[in-house]
Symmetry: C2
Subunit: 379 residues, 2 copies
C-alpha cells in the first residue's frame, strides 16, 4: 500500500501547493481518496495513479479545502471512463463516498443544478456526528436533511451512527469485510471532523506446496479446505491440520488518516499500534495558541498523539500557506515547512521512529509487517 499526497496545504490552493487530498493506493491498484479540496483532479493528473481507480472516497469534514473539489472530480472521472452505452446499461462501476452528515446534500445539489450526468453509480454513507463534535457557538446543530430527489446515478445511501462502547468511547463502523476493517473516530475541530482508522485484515499464509506433495496431497479442493483453516483426512487415513502446511499469516497493516484537529484524543481508543498516522500540523509550535483558536495542531501536538497510539511513522500535512514547502526551502526558517519537520523530529519518542512533513506528490510506501515465523511453520 502506498500513500500519495496530492495536496498538503490548508485553507486555499496556491500555485505551489494543493489543498487536502491523499490517495491510499492498494496492492491491487484500487485507490481510496481521503478528502478532495478544490483542484484535486488537477493534482491527480500529476501522479501516475489514475483517478479512474478511485473506488472509495472518505471526507474528514466539510470545510471547503477538504471538499470543494469533489463534484468536479466525480464529473471528470465520469467523462474519462470511456464506457459505452451498452456497458452502462449492463453494470456501472460504483464509487462509495463516506463523509459527515451534509455531504450527500452538497453532492446531490451541485450535481443536480449543474445537470451533470455520471457514467458510474455512487452511494453516500453519512456519518452522523455526536453532540460532542459541535462547537458551543454552533447555531444550527441540525443540518437540513430534507429529502432530496436522488441524482440519476445515486444509489440509496446510509446513515452511520456512533457506537458507544462500555467505556463511553465512540466510533463509527464504515467497513467490515474479509479484507478491511474501517472505523471513524471523532476529533476536536471547529466543525464535526473525523479521523479514519483503516485496518487491513491478516491474510492467510501461503501453502507449503513441497510439503503437501511429500504428504501425497495433490492440488485440488483439499488445498482450499486447508487454507480455509480446516483439517483434512487423506485417502490413506492421515489427518493433516492447517498448521502443518499453511505458513504464518501475513499481518495486516493499520493506517490512520485524520481530518483537521486541535486534539485527536477522542479517537485514540481505536488504535493500539499502527504503521502510519497522517496528522495535520497547520502551524509551528510557536503559534500554538493560534492553532488552538482555529482548531488546528502544531508538530509537537501531532507527535504526542502519534506516540499515544503507538504509531511507527508520523506524516504531517495541512500546512498553513505561510510555510514554504521543504522542496523549495530547506532553511528551517520561520516561513518554511522544514521548521515544522525539525520541531517534530526533536520530539520523536516511544514507538514513533520516523516523522516527515509531506510535500505535494510525496509518496509513502507503507511497509509490510514482519511475519511471526517462530510460531508457525514456514511456507
Amino acid at each position: 500500500m502506498k500513500l500519495h499526497f496530492l495536496g498538503t496545504g490548508s485553507s486555499y490552493p496556491t500555485t505551489q501547493r494543493g489543498v487536502s487530498a491523499t490517495m491510499l493506493q492498494h496492492d491491487d491498484g484500487s485507490v481510496w481518496l481521503f478528502d478532495c479540496g478544490e483542484g484535486t483532479q488537477i493534482q491527480a493528473q500529476k501522479v501516475t495513479v489514475s483517478r479512474q481507480k478511485i473506488t472509495n472516497i472518505f471526507i474528514t469534514h466539510l470545510h471547503g479545502d477538504h471538499v470543494f473539489g469533489l463534484p468536479g472530480l466525480l464529473c471528470t472521472i465520469s467523462s474519462q471512463l470511456g464506457l459505452t452505452e451498452e456497458d452502462l446499461k449492463k453494470k456501472r462501476p460504483l464509487v462509495e463516498i463516506f463523509g459527515p452528515l451534509g455531504i450527500n446534500k452538497l453532492i446531490n445539489t451541485v450535481l443536480t443544478i449543474s445537470h451533470s450526468p455520471l457514467a458510474f453509480q455512487y452511494r453516500v454513507h453519512e456519518l452522523v456526528p455526536v453532540k460532542e463534535q459541535y462547537p458551543e457557538d454552533w447555531e444550527d446543530t441540525q443540518v437540513d436533511v430534507a429529502t432530496l430527489t436522488p441524482h440519476p446515478s445515486e444509489l440509496p445511501g446510509t446513515r452511520i451512527t456512533a457506537i458507544t462502547d462500555s467505556d463511553g468511547n465512540m466510533h463509527w463502523l464504515l467497513k467490515d469485510d474479509e479484507q478491511w476493517d474501517v472505523r471513524a473516530g471523532w476529533i476536536h475541530h471547529r466543525v464535526p471532523s473525523f479521523g479514519f482508522v483503516i485496518r487491513e485484515k491478516d491474510r492467510t499464509g501461503t501453502l507449503d506446496m513441497k510439503k503437501l506433495l511429500t504428504l501425497g496431497i495433490k492440488p485440488g479442493p483439499m488445498y482450499g479446505q486447508l487454507k480455509g483453516g480446516n483439517s483434512i483426512t487423506t485417502e490413506d487415513g492421515k489427518t493433516i491440520t492447517p498448521d502443518m502446511v499453511v505458513g504464518p499469516p501475513y499481518p495486516g497493516r493499520t493506517v490512520v488518516i485524520l481530518g483537521d484537529t486541535s486534539d485527536a484524543s477522542p479517537l485514540a481508543h481505536l488504535v493500539q499500534g499502527c504503521e502510519v498516522v497522517v496528522h495535520e500540523a497547520t502551524f509551528d509550535n510557536s503559534l500554538k495558541d493560534k492553532a488552538l483558536e482555529f482548531g488546528h495542531s502544531t508538530p509537537l501536538q501531532a507527535v504526542a498523539f502519534a506516540q499515544s497510539i503507538g504509531a511507527k511513522t508520523l506524516l504531517l500535512n495541512h500546512f498553513s500557506q505561510r510555510y514554504v514547502a521543504t522542496s523549495k526551502d530547506k532553511s528551517k526558517n520561520e516561513e518554511s515547512v522544514a521548521l515544522l519537520e525539525e520541531q517534530a523530529v526533536a520530539a520523536l519518542g516511544g514507538s514513533l521512529v520516523n516523522v516527515q512533513c509531506a510535500d505535494d506528490f510525496f509518496v509513502y510506501d507503507i511497509p509490510s509487517q514482519p511475519r511471526n515465523m517462530a510460531t508457525t511453520q514456514q511456507c
Copy 2:
C-alpha cells in the same frame, strides 16, 4: 479595459489549461469575472490582477466547467480581504453575482454546508430562462427554488425575467446606470445558456478650459452645468451652450461575452457593432456534427456570428482538451488550437478584421473607440 483569459479549456481543467474564467478589468481597476470553473482561484494567482478587485461575477450557464470554482473563489477572496472586525461591522464590500436560475441554491448550499463565513456581502441575481432555452429532453424544467435560509453574508437577491420586444426578441436587463448597460441574451446549448452584452456608456467630452477662460468663465459650478449638458448665462448676459465649450463625447465600447453555444443568433438583436466578442470554438470545423450534438461551435460558426453582429475582433475560447494550446504547438495539425485559429482566420470578413484563439493568461487590451471630431468642437 482589458480581458484576461484565466481558463480557455472545456470540460475539465488540466495541468496545461484551466476551464472557463475570463476577467474584464476596468480602467478603474475593478474586475468583472465571467464564469468560474474549478481552479479559477489558482489561475487568478498567476496574473497581476487581484482577486480582491472582483466586484461582479457573471455565470453564463451552470455546467461544472463554468461554475465549480465559484464557492472556493468566494471563500478565498474572503480570507484574503484582511478586514478587521470593526471594518466588518461598519460596511463590508459587496459582490454582485448574476447567473441562471439555480445559481443561488448552489452557492447557498455549498457555503452553508461547508460552514464558510464570508468577510464580504454578496447578492445573487438569477436570470429566469425562457422555455426556448430548455432542451426537448429536459425532464425537469423547474429548478427547485424552495426558500433557502439565507447565508449570513447574503443580501436579498433578485429574479430577472426576460423582456420581449415588439419583434418577439428577448433579453434580460442586468445593469443600467450612469456607466454601464449590461444585458443578457439567450443562446442555444444543452442547458440554459446566456451571453452578456456589456455596453460602456458614452462619457461626456472634456471642457475646453482655454476657451472658457477667454469667455470669462472661471472655474465653479457653471463648469458642472455645462458638462452636464445645460446652457448657462454669464454675468454680462452671454448665453453659453455646451457645444461651444465641451469636446466630443468619448464613445463607450461594447464587449460581448458568450457562454457555451451551438448557435448564438437569438442574442444577435442586442448588438449592432462591438469592439470584441468572446465566442467558444470547442471543436474544429471537421467536427461540426459533434459540436452540434454537444451544443458547441466550430471556428467557422463563431466567425459567422461575429460578422453578423458587426464585431471588429473575435476571441475564441473553450477549446476541447484534445487541442494543444498555440503556445505549446504552432504546427496547425489536427490536435492544435493553431488549427482552429487558421480556420477562423480563413473566414474573416465584413467588419471582422481580427481573430485570435485565446490561450490561458492571454490579455486583450480593448481599444478605445475613435471620437467623432468632425461633428463637435475639439476640446
